[in-house]
């Protein structure tokens, strides 16, 4: 150990404050304590002890005294009771030497000390009982159902368990074949007998068949190539001609029709409304009614061709026209021309008969048929001409 100077120097280095403090002893010792200390110790060693524990300390510690454990609980219990009594006495009549305050801040449950000894005793007893007795103590009901097992086990399960496990272990190491033979020699025996037939060359052609199925959505070009190479070769030969620049005109023509146009005003001679309707119907179907008249007269549809040949040339020309040409032809006639034709050729159509067969209410409005060329056509098409035969 270093000299005291060195120690002081060390302290001064570590903490000048502590090094500078006076060393004052705050602990007090009774007067003459040290003077009498030796004598006090020797005297205490000489005096015999009054407790049984002191007796115990003098005996051989490797042996447990007889009846030790049987008496132990009682001994502890007595001690605990003594403790409880002295605590009560102190609480009732606190000793003047007790310097501390008599105000206890800690609370204790009601009856705690009264029941404490019994609780401790029970715990001691429980530690030493069997599980069965313990269960019986805790719950007689549960103790009562202890032996009742709800789970069933197959007959001789446990007896055969070890063999089953051993078999499985053995089977794991077998091939599939050997395993089958092991499990069922019968099934093993018929393993290669196949009852299902497969068409000849089935597998050889299978890949092609499948590929064809995949290609089922065959293109139209391939389809016609296969169905008819001749037709395939004709595909791009177009016999139809189209007027030059036609496709540039469609858009404008259609737009004109879809957008509302101002109403056309068509001059019409003043006639009685009846005659106006009759003549309008006549204009549209003049050739047709005339021919029907002839057909009815011959009474034989098979002679239709002959009947046509005998028609007026103008009617024959009308038959060869398409709808557009027919309309254009009619549009080119003036009202006076139409009226004079009707006057001359009125016998080609029975006007009174015609008027009686026409329902005036179903006729299109004059405004409609004057503006739209197709209105009368549509009216005639909607009414089956066959019905107008007389």
């Amino acid at each position: 150990m270093n000299s005291s100077n060195e120690i002081l120097n060390e302290l001064a280095t570590l903490s000048p404050l502590l090094a500078g403090m006076e060393r004052t002893n705050v602990f007090s010792v009774p007067d003459g304590y040290f003077n009498t200390l030796a004598e006090t110790i020797v005297d205490s060693m000489k005096e015999p002890s009054a407790t049984s524990f002191d007796t115990l300390s003098k005996t051989n510690l490797s042996e447990t005294p007889e009846g030790y454990f049987e008496n132990l609980a009682d001994i502890i219990l007595n001690k605990a009771k003594q403790q409880a009594v002295s605590t009560e006495q102190e609480a009732a009549d606190p000793s003047p030497s007790f310097n501390g305050t008599d105000k206890n801040v800690f609370e204790v449950p009601n009856g705690y000390f009264e029941s404490l000894s019994d609780s401790i005793l029970n715990r001691i007893k429980l530690q030493s009982v069997s599980a069965d007795a313990e269960l019986n103590n805790l719950s007689a009901i549960l103790y009562g159902v202890k032996g009742k097992n709800v789970f069933e086990v197959p007959h001789n399960y446990f007896e055969g368990l070890s063999d089953s496990i051993f078999d499985r272990i053995r089977l794991q190491s077998l091939t599939a074949d050997a395993e089958l033979n092991d499990l069922s020699p019968t099934l093993y025996g018929i393993k290669d007998k196949n009852v299902f037939e497969v068409p000849d060359n089935y597998f050889e052609g299978l890949s092609d068949t499948i590929l064809n199925s995949i290609k089922q959505t065959v293109s139209a070009a391939d389809e016609i190539k296969e169905l008819s190479p001749m037709l395939y070769s004709l595909k791009d030969k177009n016999v139809f001609k189209v007027p030059a620049g036609y496709f540039n005109t469609i858009e404008a023509a259609v737009l004109t029709k879809v957008k509302p146009q101002p109403a056309k005003v068509v001059a019409m001679h003043k006639r009685s409304s009846f005659f106006k309707y009759a003549s309008a119907a006549m204009i549209a179907c003049i050739a047709v009614l005339g021919v029907y008249k002839f057909v009815n007269k011959t009474g034989n549809h098979n002679n239709a061709a002959v009947a046509v040949a005998s028609l007026d040339p103008s009617i024959q020309n009308g038959l060869k026209m398409n709808a557009k040409q027919f309309d254009q032809g009619l549009n080119s006639l003036s009202d006076d021309e139409i009226a004079s034709y009707l006057d001359k050729n009125g016998n080609y159509a029975d006007v009174p008969a015609l008027s009686s067969s026409i329902d005036e209410n179903s006729l299109p409005d004059a405004d409609q048929y004057l503006i739209d060329d197709k209105t009368l056509d549509n009216y005639l098409n909607d009414n089956d001409l066959e019905d107008s035969k007389k």
Binding site: T217, S219, A220, A221, E223, I224, L227, S228, M230, L231, L234, K235, K237, N238, V239, F240, K241, V242, P243, Y246, F247, I250, E251, A253, V254, L255, K257, V258, A287, V288, V291, H301, A304, A305, V308, L319, N322, A323, K324, Q325, D377, N381, L385
Partner: protein, 184 residues
């Protein structure tokens, strides 16, 4: 070189907006007019008739496009209208003609023969005559598949017929036409 056509979605969008309705409409016409024209012309033969049907068809498009549900292709919808208009035209034409038509010859065959370029020895004209021997619906199936190369799936939506039936019809049509050409 003409500007490329807008896709159908864009055209429909333009049409549905009042400020661009006309622009969308003319875009649709320009995009589909030729295809639809030829589809109609092969049915009605004469240019003037095809023009009439085409224009009527586009008028119906103007009136009906707002209600187009877009659950099918625009192209399919247009073809359907064009087909129906062609058939309606042919029906009306039959009613207008004076004589009842015989089974063998019909007005369209006569019109073909009346064409100034008609040559009965040329195979392409024989093809047209052969097509007129087919019932109208079968003729349409043949046209759509042979000329327009339309997939059966799409055709079934245009004609509202099963794909199987269409395929059978087309195969029969090809056989009939081939036989006619070989025998005339």
């Amino acid at each position: 070189m003409a500007a490329p056509h807008l896709d159908d979605k864009q055209l429909l969008f333009q049409f549905k907006d009042p400020s661009t309705k006309e622009k969308g409409y003319t875009g649709i016409i320009k995009k589909y007019q030729e295809k639809l024209y030829w589809h109609i012309r092969r049915m009605v033969v004469e240019h003037e008739d095809a023009n009439d049907v085409l224009q009527n068809m586009f008028i119906k498009v103007w009136n009906g496009l707002e209600n187009f549900r877009e659950d099918s292709q625009l192209y399919t919808w247009l073809y359907r209208i064009a087909t129906n208009e062609s058939l309606t035209f042919l029906e009306q034409r039959k009613k207008r003609t004076a004589i009842s038509l015989s089974d063998v010859e019909n007005g369209l065959s006569n019109q073909l023969k009346a064409d100034k370029n008609f040559d009965p020895n040329k195979i392409e004209w024989k093809l047209q005559l052969a097509m007129q021997q087919l019932p109208e619906k079968q003729r349409i199936v043949f046209n759509l598949r042979y000329y327009d190369e339309m997939p059966y799936e799409e055709m079934s939506r245009v004609l509202e017929t099963s794909e199987g039936a269409l395929k059978a019809s087309y195969h029969h049509a090809v056989k009939k036409i081939e036989d006619f050409i070989l025998n005339h």
